[in-house]
């Protein structure tokens, strides 16, 4: 399928669909997303919702924003995301753009288990990270 978002047009297949076990707050009705990338928007990716209201987000690797980024998963998170052992996970910050200023939300990161194509927006009870971590763009 060809997916058109305001961040560009991308190719994707049904196998690329990520089911969100904890949807993004405020977008609870949207449970299926595609994580779309292209050389044009790298290092960003586009997290595009397939269910109404089909929200599209810019996202960025949390460790590209803060190389030391680390977020603990609770046992319940691990169960929901069906994480077994030390599987590699993708951690993303949702990006808010205001002209040439951009910030990433590391307070409530997106975690994706690529082995199961399951994702979640985590809201840890405590966190040292900011909801609007500035990207070095200025």
């Amino acid at each position: 399928m060809t997916v058109t978002t305001r961040f560009g047009t991308f190719d994707a297949t049904d196998a690329d669909v990520i089911d969100f076990v904890t949807p993004l707050s405020g977008f609870e009705t949207c449970k299926r997303y595609l994580l779309l990338s292209s050389p044009q928007i790298a290092p960003f990716a586009c997290l595009h919702g397939l269910d109404a209201p089909q929200p599209s987000f810019l996202a960025i690797d949390a460790r590209r924003v803060d190389a030391a980024f680390d977020c603990a998963l609770t046992d319940a998170d691990r169960q929901r995301l069906r994480i077994v052992g030390d599987e590699a996970l993708a951690w993303l910050g949702i990006v808010t753009v205001d002209a040439l200023d951009a910030t990433a939300n590391l307070r409530a990161p997106i975690v994706i288990n690529p082995a199961r194509m399951l994702g979640a927006q985590l809201i840890p009870l405590e966190s040292v990270y900011s909801i609007d971590h500035p990207l070095a763009t200025g």
Partner: protein, 77 residues
């Protein structure tokens, strides 16, 4: 809204498995302990509201400056 008067050490039970305990009562704040099944997310309201607002503004972010933004970001690294 249900309104209860509770004293320190007392609790409220909600449904099956959720308990709200009054741990300490101070002049400007109340310390509350919550036990809930791990499947029930518990958040501070203001954090939850901030994250909803951040998601909403991210979903409405303008894409017109994306090309410049990408160029800036690449130049930095």
């Amino acid at each position: 809204m249900l309104v209860f008067t509770r004293k320190r050490g007392q609790a409220i039970v909600i449904g099956d498995g959720i308990e709200v305990h009054i741990v300490r009562v101070g002049r400007d704040g109340v310390r509350i302990g919550i036990t809930a099944p791990t499947s029930v997310p518990v958040h501070r309201r203001e954090i939850y509201d901030q994250i909803r607002a951040a998601n909403a503004s991210a979903a409405a972010s303008d894409a017109t400056s994306l090309e410049q933004l990408v160029a800036h970001l690449r130049a930095k690294t």
